[in-house]
């Protein structure tokens, strides 16, 4: 506990370019951009594959690849290959690792909708797009949101590791503290990252409460 007091009690850690507010903002900005980009790719693709049933193999392959690829190795390799001039190269692995959880859960969510429900919607005269938008998406929403939550958690964690290849954010404290044998700094950073992850989790639980129709039964996530 003394370590934490050392870190959080030091006024130098609360201002300036290496202060907690700046690092937290960096972390949030980077994570948000990565998550939005991943959503832009994965949500439409997942909905389309789930709805049409075409390209399911792609979903399985991407999920397996994302689980097996080591985050740190991917970050180091991409950033070395692309060069360090900007933060953009770091976004590539960040987005690449966030796409599969969204893709898999969106796909599973849409595909898992009771076929009777789908048939009933068609029987009522809805067209393909309407069935997707008014029936499949609302029913699949718990799983879609779970995919987004898993992706968000993944992004926050990967952004922390990315401090090793020079990205800002809270991971800086962990990596810099470790490099200079400053354990209070490392620990302080780790605690902040953990708190941020819990906060993200909480935000998604709230979103889920707000958006998901109470009539929709909760189904299991695909990790």
């Amino acid at each position: 506990m003394n370590w934490l007091v050392d870190f959080f009690g030091d006024p130098a850690n609360w201002s300036g370019p290496d202060g907690i507010p700046v690092r937290l903002t960096e972390h949030l900005q980077f994570s948000t951009v990565a998550l939005l980009l991943a959503m832009l790719v994965a949500l439409p693709l997942g909905l389309w594959i789930g709805h049409t049933g075409r390209g399911a193999l792609l979903v399985v392959l991407s999920a397996n690849a994302a689980r097996a690829l080591p985050t740190l190795g991917l970050l180091v390799l991409v950033v070395l290959l692309a060069g360090l001039s900007t933060d953009l190269p770091v976004l590539i692995p960040l987005v690449a690792l966030a796409v599969p959880p969204i893709l898999v859960n969106t796909y599973e969510g849409v595909r898992g909708v009771d076929p009777d429900l789908r048939d009933a919607a068609y029987g009522m005269g809805l067209r393909g797009g309407q069935v997707l938008g008014r029936v499949l998406v609302p029913v699949a929403l718990p799983l879609i949101l779970l995919g987004l939550r898993l992706a968000a958690i993944q992004v926050v964690a990967t952004a922390t590791v990315a401090a090793f290849v020079g990205l800002g954010g809270l991971g800086r404290y962990v990596v810099d503290g470790f490099a200079t044998n400053d354990y209070p700094r490392t620990l302080g950073g780790a605690v902040l990252v953990a708190l941020l992850a819990l906060l993200v989790q909480l935000v998604f639980v709230l979103i889920q409460r707000l958006l998901v129709s109470p009539g929709v039964r909760r189904r299991n996530a695909v990790r």
């Binding site: 397996n64 689980r67 097996a68 690829l69 080591p70 985050t71 740190l72 190795g73 991917l74 180091v76 390799l77 070395l80 290959l81 958690i153 926050v156 964690a157 922390t160 590791v161 090793f164 290849v165 991971g171 962990v174 990596v175 470790f178 354990y183 490392t186 620990l187 950073g189 780790a190 605690v191 990252v193 953990a194 992850a197 819990l198 993200v200 989790q201 299991n220 990790r223």
Partner: protein, 220 residues
Amino acid sequence: MREEPLVRWDWIGRNWPSIQSLLEDHVVMSLVPIVVGLLVALPLGLACVRWRGIYQPTMSLMNVTYSLPSLAVFVMLIPVTGLATRATVIVPLVFYSLAVLIPAVVDGLGSVPDHVRQSAVAMGFTPLRRLLLVELPIAVPVVLAGLRVAAVSSISLVSVGALVGRGGLGYLFIDGWQRQFYTPIIVGVVLVVLLAAIADALLVLAQRLLTPWSRARGTA
């Protein structure tokens, strides 16, 4: 930068002994969490099925644990488990495995059809024999599906441990980064993915051996 091939095979040849020891370390650190995870998840999963009330709280706790970034947990464990020890990496990975395996066990047991359970009761199976001889074998595919996810994730997560001094093959990423040298990084990525693929294939094989009836029926 010098003109350099992406992979220098002579480097791999010269450093093979150290790569091999990193590989062994990696295997141990990813295997222990999976085995311990399964050994803990089975009784916990059974308890969750027996007492439905504890399932939700258990899963909430597991979800919270699962959401904590591995690097942060490794760092927070250092005062307890020591710097650059295997335990610092293994302990968090046990919890990540549990977060995947407990629901797998619960869903697996939930996948046992009611008429099968009732037939077993009618045939005079005691609850323990029914569990061991009927329910668990039927649960195998679902449990093994969870185990595959847990195994592949553990294998890739171990490498993050390199940032706190003990990450098996993850060390190659740090080494390659510090020297701006591609070969170790590529060797590390390839070996981690290869390990994950081997673990996955072994578990698929285990499922085929453990559930011969699913093959006879033509479903996997």
